[in-house]
């Protein structure tokens, strides 16, 4: 008896959470979404909210039933269910990241099989007898802090060795920056600017030509007033010939231009401003008449003005461009 009653209770409980549907819901538990494709029957206007609510309740019950079937575990925050990864395909926010292109050194290292050696962060500073960082603030063996510099025998005694050290550092920094930018240009497939003229023992004709060109342009006015050598020829095709707008430039300007173009094409008014044209023609005629009158004045007033005018008034103009006839039904 008791067992039967217990069974009945269990059955009743399960009935309370069960929802019957002809078509199963399409569930995406990863994003807690459900799609119910069952046809909806129209309820009356007054019962609309109640109908929506009952529909929502049934659908939510089905979704919750599915979530409760997932593997769960008990943590200190409560019972937690592990959700599967979402199955609805949602577009990404940004494009997939492209892997960084290797730099020139990285390519060489890969070729030779050179691997990076992991260096320790701290280095023993012998003079101060303590561990200091390898680089950065208060580093070990800091060369810039050297306040005594030896003047080498070959050097000029009046030369500023400290300034020389500073200059050398600046050179190194600029060289590093240049190489970094060249690596980026190479990675982006832009034109990598070459380093220019390298010192060679036997320069070729092209190299000599390049050297002459560089030397010529290295004046304050960039070679504009530099006289040509006796046998030197003028460069024929120097300078840009045409300049095009970049393909992907100012979007709003491009948009504006294209919309203006559309306006021009679709406007009913003809492009030719006929009143302006007519007026201009009239003015020209007047001028002609005036010129003729001046010529004819000593001969007396022979030709009148009015009947020599052309029939181009405001209303009578030739239609420019016939409209294409559409299909006539």
């Amino acid at each position: 008896m008791a067992a039967l009653a217990a069974e009945q209770l269990v059955a009743e409980a399960e009935r309370s959470v069960r929802v019957e549907r002809p078509v199963e819901l399409e569930l995406d538990l990863g994003s807690l979404t459900a799609l119910d494709t069952n046809p909806l029957k129209a309820g009356g206007q007054r019962e609309a909210e109640a109908w929506l609510r009952s529909l929502a309740r049934d659908n939510t019950q089905l979704l919750v039933n599915a979530v409760w079937q997932l593997p769960s575990e008990r943590l200190q925050e409560g019972v937690v269910a592990s959700l599967p990864p979402p199955s609805t395909r949602i577009p990404r926010e940004k494009p997939v990241p492209k892997p960084r292109a290797p730099t020139r050194w990285e390519q060489f290292a890969k070729l030779k099989g050179i691997r990076k050696k992991k260096k320790s962060g701290l280095v023993w500073d012998e003079s101060r007898k303590e561990w200091r960082r390898r680089w950065g603030y208060q580093r070990a063996n800091d060369e810039t802090k050297e306040w005594v510099l030896e003047v080498p025998d070959s050097a000029d005694p009046n030369e500023d060795q400290f300034a020389k050290r500073v200059a050398a550092k600046k050179e190194r920094v600029a060289k590093n920056e240049l190489n970094r930018l060249r690596n980026i240009a190479r990675a982006q497939k832009h034109k990598v600017p070459g380093l220019g003229l390298a010192p060679t023992p036997q320069p070729s004709k092209a190299e000599l030509g390049e050297a002459i060109r560089v030397a010529r342009a290295s004046t304050a006015s960039v070679g504009k007033f530099q006289p040509r050598l006796p046998k030197e020829q003028e460069p024929r095709n120097a300078g840009q010939r045409r300049k095009f707008q970049p393909l992907i430039g100012d979007f709003s300007a491009e948009r504006r231009r294209q919309l203006e173009l559309l306006d021009v094409i679709s406007s009913k008014k003809p492009r030719l401003d006929t009143t302006k044209a007519a007026n201009r023609q009239l003015r020209e005629d007047d001028q002609e008449q005036a010129a003729k009158r001046k010529k004819m004045r000593p001969k007396g007033r022979k030709g009148g003005n009015s009947h020599n005018r052309n029939n181009k008034g405001k209303g009578q103009h030739r239609k420019t461009g016939m409209k294409p006839h559409g299909k006539r039904k």
């Binding site: 926010e93 997939v96 979007f251």
Partner: protein, 360 residues
């Protein structure tokens, strides 16, 4: 957009100190070039094509502080992306309905949303540059633009971006709206992940509504979590497509005791309720949409080799063995049958042990 630090290329180049010494590779050339005004690096900089502008090329401007670096890293394209943020914008003229609607949706989407207070006189359907600019500045890929005019009363444009350009936009007209304030009951906790339910076969059949459904999921979904607290399923947003309209209702979920493990659900309407009517749409072309759906290869589940499953679910493994010399195979030993050397002390090889029985 200008990153926080951006030294122009020219400034970088003039750091190169011109020193007329024969040995040095960089300065000798500049000395040869004469005048000293045109140094090697500046000449190099001038020869770079004009298209290489600071903003266009990444990596040229490196951030000087760790904070700036973190800021830029957060906005970089990643394999696993951040949760999408939404920006809620008001148009040139907004009605009370629209402003209240925007505020309610902001409270639904907190903290992954920004609500802009000022009015912006733009029309997203005509000119998308304004929305794209906002998206780039605030790093939001979802937006909701509310406006009101005589032709389109109580208008709400929901949209999403891909790579800071508009991907999809849908214009919805609010026919009936009841805000959070109108329902006088307690609300669910802020920031809880909602359950989304779409009812009506129109969501499956009509292509436009399919995209609209995808857009709604994208907008309201919230962060993707691997685990969820079962008691934390507090809010459900229910969308019904019926008679050409979309009815959106938000309910608070009450988990009631039922006899079994699964609780019985009771719903209490708490949140904003909308009756939407679909107006204009601007969906991305198929190829752009496909491009935006592309996932990186790293996310694909790695297939384990040499493991296969048959129809019944039994898992089979494959083991590759070395070639065995069968004559030297270890089998069971019978000590008595062992050949012994005649006579002298024979020390049986105790170290040889019989091989263990192979467990199949």
């Amino acid at each position: 957009t200008n990153s926080p630090c951006c030294p122009p290329l020219v400034r970088v180049c003039t750091r190169l100190h011109v020193s007329p010494r024969a040995g040095d590779r960089y300065s000798s050339r500049s000395w040869r070039a004469g005048a000293g005004a045109v140094t090697e690096v500046t000449r190099v900089a001038k020869s770079l094509p004009a298209v290489v502008t600071m903003a266009a090329v990444p990596d040229v401007c490196k951030p000087k502080t760790k904070r700036a670096k973190r800021f830029l890293e957060k906005r970089d394209p990643k394999i696993i992306e951040n949760t999408k943020n939404a920006m809620l914008i008001k148009g040139g003229n907004t009605s009370e309905t629209v402003t209240q609607a925007l505020r309610d949706i902001y409270s639904l989407k907190k903290p992954n949303a920004v609500l802009y207070k000022k009015k912006n006189i733009t029309r997203p359907f005509e000119d998308q540059t304004s929305v794209e600019f906002f998206s780039k500045k605030s790093d939001c890929s979802l937006f909701m633009f509310g406006s009101h005019n005589k032709k389109r009363p109580h208008n709400l444009i929901i949209g999403r971006m891909f790579d800071y350009h508009v991907l999809d936009m849908v214009e919805l007209g609010i026919e009936k709206f009841e805000s959070l304030r109108d329902f006088k009951n307690s609300k669910s906790a802020e920031g809880s992940k909602p359950m989304l339910i779409f009812a009506g076969d129109a969501f499956e059949i009509d292509n436009d509504l399919k995209r609209v459904k995808n857009l709604f999921i994208d907008f309201f979904r919230g962060p993707t979590v691997p685990k969820i607290r079962l008691a934390g399923l507090e809010i459900v947003l229910h969308f019904t497509a019926f008679a050409g309209k979309i009815f959106m209702r938000s309910y608070k979920v009450l988990l009631k005791k039922s006899g079994c493990r699964i609780p019985r659900i009771e719903l209490e309407e708490m949140g904003p309720s909308f009756n939407f009517i679909l107006r204009r749409t601007h969906f991305a072309s198929d190829d752009l949409y496909k491009k935006s759906l592309k996932q990186p290869k790293a996310l694909k589940a790695k297939k384990k080799k040499n493991i296969s499953q048959d129809v019944f679910g039994t898992t089979y493994g494959r083991i590759h063995m070395e070639k065995q010399d069968l004559s030297k195979l270890q089998t069971r030993k019978m000590k008595g049958l062992k050949k012994r050397k005649a006579g002298k002390n024979v020390i049986a090889d105790e170290s040889e042990s019989s091989p263990k029985k192979m467990k199949v």
